[in-house]
Symmetry: C2
Subunit: 496 residues, 2 copies
């Protein structure tokens, strides 16, 4: 009896709420301090070896209590995890988050809603957020839409819909039963999530064509059409084109109206990967760059990049709602709809995305968009684009630096070339070292890429905390580190 | 100049942090109040039509401010979103969340870490959590592991690995180029995320075999072997078996050692879907139920169900790490590894899951597991299983109720059959009405399923807040509503 009573008192809830409540407020306060003062911390900091060792803790069998966990977090995690929330972070392409986003996560964590589509207000919030996403991107209210983990999943969902729309009634039997070979096309600058999605979808490398680009890193339309014709002659069914609205390397946008015309002529699907570039549509000044996007069959874009919703959040829009739904709909007797109560589901979100159980991602979007209004996102994008132009201008004005690609949007690829001519191989290694030093000194975090065999320091500016002075700090530091390393290296060479 | 200055001041950060901070504390306090008092609210409440109308708000262009958003949330969302955090929620299969989980989400929201694998402490936290997941489930430290959105994605990842392991070197070219037809097997009770994943993977219905079950809802091993032989004769390559550790309808677990033996004999892959059932492994008393699971080639389980981590969080374990990695690895010049700095990535998590950019899910798991210790999860599972037995006992003891399936774990399927004999059709409709009334009265939220054509009220008990008295409330309410509706219906019939 005692054992039964004891077990009946088991719960994860606190036995005494007061100390947990007090600690929770301290945690919140310190996280707000952190966000308020983030510019005064290093942009990156190496995790010390004793912390690495402490984190390698075996699964705790006994409770440590929240107070101890908080102390571990403060000592072991917090100081060594600053990255994309910092004003001088421009690595890869990441959003900066926001206080509202953080609070949205907190509210969602408390509700703990499984956003599968049950008849609760949260489902209506998500339906509304989807409608906002459509309207931001100029897609009709009748289109399919889903919140997903990000651009990779958005691409996967859209390409699944594309594949099955082209296969038609055979799709349900699976690619393996169709006896057909589909081919998809995108420039060599296309994000790796596209070939990754195609492999998941059973298309694989046999159905992926990486089309060369021109000097602006946009897809070569002539080569594209030639490749389509070659595939048709070889028995492939050209199924879809992936147009880029903002490539990851340089921010290039393909000629979307031209791609649209090709897909219409050839009976193909146009998918636009607008992971961050799609956000240009929110600015009247930038919108012409992504013209045509709103007529695509499908569009993938992230909310956690240039819209600064905390990780993770992305969106996929698919013009033909039934084409969106088809690949993801499987019956389940435990899912049949009721007339009233929570089972009177207004929608089953799992029919539009890989997941059945789902996080209530929509809440943080709802909180952030309502708090800030949508207009600011277009203005922030304009500001980042202006900062990219400013940085490109500073690079161009410095004889020791050079731009490695045009700057059509918010990404600047450049390198230190030093005072004397040097070969690419030497400069590649020098710039690798400059970049790592810049990061390890905690000054700034751009990342890198390779463009035509050249190592580029790459600043992808999707940051609402950056100021022009931050880019001056970047340029000055690259010059100073570059000069020091160049001297050192030529010294090494003399000595060697 | 004024315009430039004004734009340079643009940010999503508060102009004045003090009021935002004060509001954030009020939000936190109220959410803690909510969790503390959740048992005193209805288990479900209809969203009133004026709230439905208010939520249908067009995308706000101008900022509303956080204060207004909070008020909207409190009036429009919070009162109509209680569901799985309530002590009398047993619908579908959902976890209850926890204060620690909510705070973990808050911390992750503030860090806003893109958990892609950068050289930051957060990556080490995730690697450690993955090691904890392996050790909980008895998988070797050398196995592949990934945190994903949940069981659906975990099944997708595991089946992608299975497919490509069977295809071998041809896998990279894609299913469509292989010229082979694979077949996968699981009982008719298998979760719909499995055929859904197979369709995504290009296998489709041509490669999915739903095998009949015995009276315990376990896969019929004789029929399974017969179907494998038939497929071999028909030119299919039997590729994998999906074993259930806890089916969604009744909590049945297949004979996993027998399935393992078949896959070893036939050169097939054994995947175990242990969405919630796998958690039985954490209890010495329940572990025998899922014996054999730890020897599977892959295992999917949820952290947001019986481990009560907030939505979303799931895990996939794959014994052969390279087989795990193969389908998800695509190069990207912007992703090459550096020697030091944030780009000296200890791991690229995107090589083990569909996403490249990823939420820092691991943090809430780390906080919860450290705070509570792992042992309590096994004890909580035992308690829920004991509650299921208690509920089943009460159902069996009531002549007006009947069990519709065995109760091997934590799921109880039953119905009201009334004082007089009645046909299934009549009882199906009666029990539908009983269930909806029970939910609409806010008393309790079981869900439903269909078993051999019979509508079942289904209580899936994965709830750390439930007490035995809650099940008494359920039984008493079903009887009382059932009697009332039965009288009403027989009255209708007399009148009609």
């Amino acid at each position: 009896m005692t054992a039964a009573v004891e077990r009946e008192s088991l719960t994860l809830d606190p036995a005494d709420w007061a100390p947990t409540r007090a600690l929770a407020h301290r945690m919140l306060d310190e996280m707000l301090d952190r966000l308020e003062g983030i510019g005064q911390t290093p942009a990156w900091r190496e995790t010390p070896s004793e912390v690495v060792a402490a984190l390698a803790e075996p699964l705790p069998g006994d409770p440590q209590g929240l107070e101890r966990v908080w102390e571990d977090f403060r000592r072991q995690v917090l100081p060594y995890s600053a990255l994309n929330i910092h004003p001088r972070f421009w690595g890869w392409v990441m959003g900066s988050g926001s206080v509202e986003g953080m609070l949205g996560e907190m509210l969602a964590g408390a509700l703990n809603l499984n956003a599968g589509g049950a008849n609760v207000a949260g489902t209506l919030v998500e339906l509304q957020v989807l409608q906002w996403c459509r309207s931001m991107m100029g897609f009709p209210a009748s289109s399919g839409a889903a919140l997903v983990t990000g651009g990779s999943t958005a691409n996967l969902v859209a390409l699944a819909a594309a594949r099955d729309a082209i296969l038609g009634p055979e799709a349900e039997q699976g690619v393996q039963a169709s006896g057909r070979r589909l081919s998809f096309y995108g420039s060599v600058e296309t994000h790796n999530s596209v070939p990754k999605a195609l492999r998941m979808l059973g298309i694989g490398s046999s159905g992926w064509r990486a089309v060369p680009t021109d000097s602006d890193f946009q897809i070569d339309l002539g080569r594209l059409q030639q490749m389509i014709a070659e595939d048709q002659a070889a028995g492939y069914r050209p199924a879809g084109i992936i147009g880029n609205a903002g490539t990851v390397n340089t921010g290039a946008t393909d000629d979307l109206p031209a791609l649209l015309a090709i897909t219409r002529r050839e009976g193909m699907w146009l998918h636009v990967d607008g992971a961050f570039g799609a956000i240009a549509a929110l600015s009247p000044a930038l919108r012409p760059i992504v013209r045509g996007m709103e007529q695509a069959d499908s569009l993938a874009f992230d909310l956690h990049k240039w819209l600064h919703v905390p990780y993770d959040a992305g969106c996929v829009l698919i013009r033909d709602r039934e084409a969106h739904r088809a690949p993801f709909t499987q019956p389940g007797s435990y899912l049949t709809r009721m007339d009233r109560g929570p089972g009177a589901m207004p929608v089953l979100f799992g029919e539009f995305a890989p997941e059945l159980s789902r996080a209530f991602r929509a809440l943080k979007v709802w909180v952030a968009f309502k708090a800030h209004g949508s207009a600011i996102y277009g203005r922030l994008a304009e500001e980042n684009v202006a900062q990219a132009a400013y940085l490109a201008g500073r690079v161009s004005a410095e004889p020791e630096l050079e731009l490695l690609a045009p700057v059509p949007l918010n990404i600047v690829c450049f390198r230190y070339r030093g005072p004397r001519p040097a070969g690419d191989e030497e400069l590649n290694e020098l710039n690798r070292q400059i970049l790592m030093q810049l990061q390890c000194d905690g000054i700034a975090v751009p990342s890198h890429t390779a463009l035509n065999g050249r190592f580029a320091i790459r600043a992808a500016i999707t940051n609402h905390r950056s100021r022009r002075a931050d880019f001056d700090i970047l340029v000055d530091a690259v010059l100073s580190i570059g000069r020091k390393l160049a001297v050192q290296r030529s010294g090494d060479r003399v000595i060697g």
